[in-house]
């Protein structure tokens, strides 16, 4: 029952998110709005109910599984990918590396600037 209650809660928030996004015609995906609303609820309640904790850890611990059917979709796009394989593969590789390195660099520098330096100059592994 426990897991089921948590799962139901997540679906209710997603549903409310999807409906709100459509009613107000805001350009945010429904699940993202659902997440924001659940976050606000948790802030107000001040604790995570156990069923919700169980359901969310179950989903998040197998997050990579959930991307598998979309990945298999590659076979439906074989010919297009073959046509433009060079821009696709190089862009995927380079842009992901650039994004990762730049974001890490910016986060590293801004943490040093804006956050009171912790013991060890803010660089230590906590």
């Amino acid at each position: 029952m426990n897991f089921l209650n948590g799962m139901t809660l997540l679906l209710v928030y997603q549903l409310v998110g999807e409906v709100t996004v459509r009613l107000l015609a805001v350009p945010i995906p429904g699940p993202v709005l659902g997440m924001v609303m659940l976050f606000l609820t948790l802030m107000i309640r001040g604790r995570t109910p156990e069923p919700l904790q169980n359901a969310s850890s179950a989903l998040l611990s197998h997050l990579s599984l959930l991307f598998v059917p979309a990945g298999v979709g590659m076979m439906a796009h074989f010919s297009r990918i073959a046509d433009e394989w060079l821009p696709i593969t190089l862009t995927l590789l380079l842009s992901t590396i650039i994004t990762m390195v730049a974001t890490a660099g910016i986060m590293q520098v801004t943490t040093r600037w804006f956050v009171r330096p912790e013991k060890g100059g803010g660089q230590g592994n906590e």
Binding site: I28, P29, L65, A70, G71, A76, H77, T91, T96, T111
Partner: protein
């Protein structure tokens, strides 16, 4: 069993979602076991192995992707509630987040702009069509979000889903090496970069490094999904393509 009986069984299976769903879970189970056998080496990423196994199976049996997806959609659907579930680690890391809100906001917004900007620019430089550029632009956001954005800016949503998965894999495989090379040891920095660049697949990898890196990656994935939805359509308008 005789030939017609086998054919009848196959007709039943290919028309029902049972087979697609079952092979997805079996392939992932095998891939995950292989990943553990390889001592969680990022090169043995379970998404790569399961996608390869499934494509090989579908091609060998002559099954169309749409038929497979009748079953695969049940797994795919859970990406929605999983996005909502990110509110939980977000809430639990909130005190740490409040301390870091300014660096996190700056890194997140710049990361989202760099991800989309560099994709469009590189694809354009390398001679990719506009459709490909627009399908690549939201690739660092999590699948349901990226697909929605691709649709509004003129990309191909189902192709974007594939590119999203590939981006996640690239980040999960290379991320820890890149951070080592940059000599970054702070888990909050690594987590934010992982989540911004490679969403859920990167987050799954981050949780294996440490729970703090995982929580920050989940946080970055959640917030960048939100930021990508707001920024990317506007960015595309701005550069006028």
């Amino acid at each position: 069993m005789n030939e017609p009986a086998i054919r009848d069984i196959w007709v039943y299976l290919s028309a029902s979602p049972l087979l697609g769903l079952t092979i997805t879970l079996v392939a992932y189970g095998l891939a995950y076991r292989l990943y553990l056998k390889a001592h969680s080496n990022p090169l043995a990423n379970p998404v790569v192995t399961s996608v390869a196994l499934l494509i090989a199976f579908l091609l060998a049996t002559g099954t169309e992707y749409d038929e497979y997806f009748e079953g695969g959609q049940f797994v795919h659907f859970l990406l929605g509630p999983a996005t909502v579930a990110l509110a939980v680690p977000l809430y639990q890391q909130f005190s740490r987040l409040r301390q870091l809100w300014l660096p996190v906001t700056i890194s997140l917004v710049s990361g989202v702009v760099i991800a989309a900007g560099s994709s469009i620019a590189l694809a354009w430089l390398l001679g990719g069509s506009r459709e490909i550029q627009m399908s690549l632009a939201p690739k660092s956001a999590t699948a349901p979000v990226a697909m929605g954005i691709a649709e509004t800016i003129g990309g191909i949503p189902s192709l974007t889903a594939v590119l999203v998965v590939a981006t996640g894999i690239v980040g999960a495989v290379l991320g820890t090496k890149l951070f080592e090379w940059m000599r970054i040891t702070d888990d909050s920095v690594k987590g934010i970069a992982m989540g911004v660049a490679s969403h859920g697949i990167g987050t799954a990898r981050a949780f294996q490094v440490s729970s703090q890196m995982g929580a920050f990656s989940g946080l970055a994935m959640a917030l960048s999904a939100f930021a990508t939805a707001l920024i990317v359509p506007w960015l595309v308008d701005l550069i006028g393509i």
